[in-house]
Symmetry: C2
Subunit: 282 residues, 2 copies
């Protein structure tokens, strides 16, 4: 698995330097860096960009791993060592996966042949005020619960109208099942999954009556588990908006008005969407 | 390539609805959405979160594609259709690639067995004031040019000290070669590449004398092309900081003091780094 080029580079390095690689002592030889200086650099506390309008960063992303729950059974990502520090001097993995895994984006092109793919999707739409609507109480009673127009109205009664350019999240509490893929998929004997999602009417309301960038869920699909018609996918992506599935940690920004969310999705070429880092600035 | 599960889902949907999928007319049936409402939703201008401290978003990321230049020859990412709208009702690609391709992060674990991998790297370090140091004039004369301590001093003379928690970028102008992988790698007859990078001394200075989150380059490596010792990788990653390679569009924020950069890197499990979306808020 080790590339001849890598071997050549590492061999040349070791020959030239005549040293074992990566020890702290060797780092200290570089450029007159003192031990005290390196310790200071290493231990310097993280500084937040608080002078720039945000006091902190909240991570809304799950680890993208091989054991994650997936919409399609058996479609978990695969990874293997490509090169390693021990054998090659540096470490790189090879990944093999389908685009809709983990915390990820659904681009309009996912359901719509004329829809934009994620490589060319407008970057300014990836920065949005967050709205988190809590349906965890009814989701606890009914796994097929939907975020309905009434839930939006209740949120607006308490918080004011959904702001322009919002990214509207459903918080169902489902993320607590993330580490148990079977419980997260929650399939019945017929293979039909049961988990919460947006209702078709709520999606239609947001598209027609509000100005949103997209919607997100803490489950495997914008539509609820038993949906076979994908009405929410069709309407939201058909309107040129995006969806985000597998969102984590929404409860931590639920009571933080003004949280701004960045959808850090690489520009996957002709991508129907794909894995992303979702970060909130609070 | 089409999963039996996908086929089943789509077949059931078509049977239930008795309709072709994805036409605009069908979207209008959903949830009482009027034609005018849908047009308004579709055509609503992008709203920027200008009330929240940023006037716009600048994309610092290249498209992650199969023809990109790569550090190791022949290591371009691969992709194929997994399912398509035409055949299956929705579109998903399958990707296969090694982690260090495109606009991507080098995590400490890339060169350091004890170094943090990207899945658990502190999210608050991914949000940083940007410093862009322009060495394009000397890079035009010498493809092996380095960003030196003198370049940092010159930048600070003009702009003040590098702010705490900065992400310090080298702008060499190399991105203009991105679409020509051979010119971007710029290998000589012996296979040695020639492109600009940080000098070991500049990296050591930033680590010891300034408080940075990481460094970034618009080339294939933090070290310059001919480096066989990876001194900059070793010191920066050894100090627990990160690097970003293959950055795009840096000239557009060079004269924008206070630009904040978000490193949108998915939490690749045990990742040595990996593809990211790099966005600047300006």
């Amino acid at each position: 698995m080790c590339s001849p080029q890598v071997e050549k580079i590492i061999r040349e390095r070791l020959e030239k330097e005549g040293r074992p690689v990566f020890s702290r002592r060797n780092l200290l030889k570089l450029g007159g860096l003192s031990a005290a200086g390196l310790a200071a650099a290493t231990l310097a506390p993280a500084r937040r960009a608080s002078a720039h309008g945000a006091a902190g960063v909240v991570d809304l992303s799950h680890v993208f791993g091989t054991a994650m729950p997936t919409y399609l059974l058996g479609e978990g990502p695969q990874r293997e060592d490509f090169v390693t520090v021990e054998n090659d001097g540096f470490y790189i993995q090879r990944w093999n996966y389908t685009e809709h895994a983990g915390t990820h984006v659904d681009a309009p092109g996912h359901f719509h042949t004329d829809g934009e793919t994620i490589d060319n999707y407008a970057a300014e739409l990836l920065y949005s005020p967050a709205v988190v609507i809590d349906i965890s109480a009814k989701a606890e009673e009914n796994p097929d619960a939907t975020l309905d127009v009434a839930d939006i109205e209740a949120w607006e009664s308490a918080n004011g109208e959904i702001p322009a350019g919002a990214l509207v999240f459903m918080y169902s509490g489902w993320e607590s099942r993330w580490d148990d893929a079977e419980a997260f998929r929650n399939a019945d004997a017929d293979g039909v999954m049961h988990f919460p999602g947006f209702s078709a009417e709520a999606a239609a309301f947001l598209l027609a009556e509000r100005d949103i960038h997209g919607i997100g869920v803490d489950t495997l699909s914008l539509d609820n588990g038993p949906s076979a018609t994908f009405d929410v996918h069709l309407s939201v992506l058909g309107a040129g908006k995006y969806g985000i599935e597998g969102v984590a940690n929404l409860a931590s920004i639920m009571d933080t008005p003004g949280a701004l969310v960045i959808v850090g999705v690489p520009r996957w070429e002709e991508g129907s969407g794909g894995p992303c880092r979702l970060l909130a600035l609070v």
